[in-house]
């Protein structure tokens, strides 16, 4: 069990492998899209890891990237369609970012590095844990960005009106992508300090 916990900290896909950073910058202005994005990536990563692992012995190495891309796209489209049919509001919130999961390097990275050479069950676990490792960073970044950028959390106001009356201002830089990059940088720094 312990070996699967790596992605949450010492082998974190964003903080250590620096994969999937651009979506981490794009969807973290607010907490809610970040959480749904994290769950969607986890589902796609786990399912495609499982499928690729199941058919790993039949995939010709020369076209393995194409096969991986097909499987990933398949799950991304299914997730998108299911969200539109059942959780309509959430799907609207994520809009283009769901489609962009296809290009998330974490998923292809895990397929290449793990699913192609491991049995289905460990691959499934690996996918889930990497998705969660990615999600953890998203949630932490989104927490600070929404709190300081908009004064809200999960769309509920948490900074009291009296603070605004006393001259407190939301930090506009927080909701812009550059600040996300700086925050991710700080997290990478923290992670490095812990790892060493």
């Amino acid at each position: 069990m312990k070996k699967y916990l790596g992605p949450l900290s010492k082998e974190n896909p964003i903080l250590v492998q620096t994969l999937g950073v651009c979506s981490a910058l794009a969807v973290t202005a607010q907490l809610k899209p970040a959480v749904v994005m994290a769950l969607s990536v986890t589902v796609v990563c786990a399912c495609s890891n499982l499928i690729i692992s199941l058919i790993r012995n039949t995939i010709p190495p020369r076209i393995r990237i194409i096969v991986q891309l097909l499987v990933v796209s398949f799950f991304v489209i299914v997730v998108d369609q299911v969200l539109q049919a059942t959780l309509y509001d959430v799907s609207k919130l994520l809009s283009v970012f769901v489609g962009l999961i296809i290009t998330n390097c974490i998923i292809m990275g895990r397929l290449e590095a793990f699913a192609l050479s491991h049995k289905p069950l460990p691959s499934l676990m690996d996918g889930v844990m990497n998705g969660l490792g990615y999600g953890l960073v998203l949630v932490v970044v989104a927490f600070f960005r929404e709190l300081f950028g908009s004064g809200t959390l999960w769309n509920h106001q948490v900074v009291p009106d009296s603070w605004y009356a006393a001259g407190y201002l939301n930090n506009g830089l927080m909701i812009l992508p550059p600040m996300a990059l700086i925050l991710v940088g700080c997290l990478i720094w923290t992670q490095n300090a812990i790892s060493n």
Partner: protein, 202 residues
């Protein structure tokens, strides 16, 4: 490493693509009725919201058919009973945001001169910036605004940065969203173009 022949590769990828295409088609057609129903309910809810009604999406379609009468066949104009009991005209708006289309509905008073309410939506504006056009506070700021200036010229409701263009009167403008210049400009354009077109029909 195992050797795979070219024939195997061709057959393998053809089979895989076929299977995926078939399953995706099934998923898509299977879920289509639910997706369409969601979209229809959302449209009804948006028009109702622009008219001041706060109605749950599950009840929006029924409520809409009771309160609204279509004025045109294309579903772009409705006569609607507003929350305050007066009648208004709901008009569909379409425009461009930063990343994709933005749209919405404006409910005008019966003489077509005052905005009673609006409801905006967008495909892919940035969360926390352009996506704020769907915030209650932004949409509320349009209520009661006039489409004509004091001399009776059409100016629409402009979306402008606070403190700029002092020549546009307070009753003809709302504050733009800071950090979302292009989306705000898109709303500005949309209000200007769509409402002048529709108003000419009166």
């Amino acid at each position: 490493m195992k050797k795979f022949s070219n024939t195997y590769i061709f057959l393998y990828i053809t089979a895989l693509v076929t299977v995926i295409a078939v399953v995706l088609t099934l998923v898509s057609t299977g879920l289509k009725p639910r997706r369409d129903r969601n979209k229809e309910a959302e449209k009804c809810q948006q028009i109702l919201r622009a008219a001041g009604h706060d109605i749950d999406r599950s009840k929006a379609v029924d409520a809409f058919s009771n309160l609204a009468v279509p004025l045109t066949d294309d579903g772009r104009q409705y006569q609607i009973v507003c929350a305050d009991g007066t009648k208004g005209i709901a008009i569909r708006l379409d425009g461009k945001g930063l990343w994709g289309p933005i749209w919405g509905y404006a409910v005008l008073s019966e003489d077509g001169k005052t905005v009673k309410g609006v409801c905006f939506d967008h495909k892919s504006e940035t969360p926390g910036l352009g996506a704020k056009i769907t915030d209650e506070a932004f949409m509320k700021s349009f209520e009661g605004k006039k489409l004509y200036d004091k001399d009776g010229n059409y100016v629409s409701v402009r979306v402008l940065k606070p403190g700029t263009s002092a020549e546009v009167a307070e009753e003809n403008r709302v504050d733009a969203i800071s950090g979302a210049t292009i989306t705000s400009r898109g709303v500005d354009q949309m209000m200007k173009e769509e409402l002048v077109l529709e108003i000419n029909h009166f």
